[in-house]
Symmetry: C2
Subunit: 206 residues, 2 copies
Amino acid sequence: MKKIPLATIQRLLVYYRHLNIIAEGDEEVISSSKLGEAVGVPSTQLRKDLSYFGEFGCKGVGYNINDLKECLAKILTLNKNRDLVLIGAGNLGRALVNFPGFRKMGINIVEVFDNDLDNIGNIIGELTVKNIKDLERIIVDRGIKTAILTTPREGVQSLVDRLVKVGIKAIWNFAPVPLKLPDDVVVYYEDLSSSIVTLMYLLYNT
Amino acid sequence: MKKIPLATIQRLLVYYRHLNIIAEGDEEVISSSKLGEAVGVPSTQLRKDLSYFGEFGCKGVGYNINDLKECLAKILTLNKNRDLVLIGAGNLGRALVNFPGFRKMGINIVEVFDNDLDNIGNIIGELTVKNIKDLERIIVDRGIKTAILTTPREGVQSLVDRLVKVGIKAIWNFAPVPLKLPDDVVVYYEDLSSSIVTLMYLLYNT
DNA sequence: TAGATTGTTAATCGATTAACAATC
DNA sequence: TAGATTGTTAATCGATTAACAATC
């Protein structure tokens, strides 16, 4: 299989969301140009993106809205439930646990950890913040493969080393630290400071 | 001036942060390969990134840590204070207002708005949540140019239309909605659902 | 001077866009 | 059949990487 650009995967969810909205309407079918226009993507790129995964349309007609929606859900495995842990029960961690829409896509944060006694024991949504010293035991017990890091920068690398040791294979990292990881662990960096600084740069340099 | 890739801008902050850390140490100078290795960027890309903005190094020697740090701060205008408003005082909005590190880079969230009477009047950090109907007046009064959107998806476009009308020129949008905007308004989409779904895709497809 | 390292040009790689045959 | 639209190949564009002359 040819390598699929990351940007393509990200666009699939954008397509999915719009299909979800228009699935409520009367139309059964949509063309790549209509859908593309609605989400700000050239129709030719939309078709290219889909072509990595198969043929979903009907020449001369377009795409069946419900079918395409389901196909995208399947590609992105939105139907399967995924259990994750979150580490760092600060403001951002709390926001993510309560984030609307994760559940709907099968993203379930099932444990929250912290190392601060002020936070341990607190309730966030339906979860109780647990002591980070129980991290390993609980991750192994539940067979968890994905961790969200919303901790301060300090100590993130050693935390990650602990996670890797107990079988974590995917990390969503909000700490602005480049991580050293084995090749079989995937990581996604979410760098909010970088985002806003980039936006400010664009504002004053375009 | 040649067009500068967005990815270059984003990497500048990564360099800056590492320089900030090692500025505490004993070394005065660092080579592009050392710095690059520390942050996971090839040295040749680091030099290329810098070359868009000038010559900061010394052949045969490397870069003066403090000088380069200051140059990057200047390029990214981290020294100038920027006033922003945030709209949507939910969990995520609260997290951003309290986000550590924004202040240090001159990013000051100076007003928070919401349309929910349960939220209006609440205290977040040092701010009081204001009624969104005063949005226009306050933005004009304070001459604010940048808005952060942490509202639900519904109604974002009409909110954005209001913002544009009173002179907002940059938008950091956390709502998963493609916005229709004039050409002179810059936007940065922060799509947290897309991030985690992409990570899950990578986990199960690599 | 010899070794190190920059800044930059040229080559490569990968993603986006254009064009169009296939076909509903 | 004529018009519309897909899926895909080829062309373009842009970013990354390699190579190396300049020079500290």
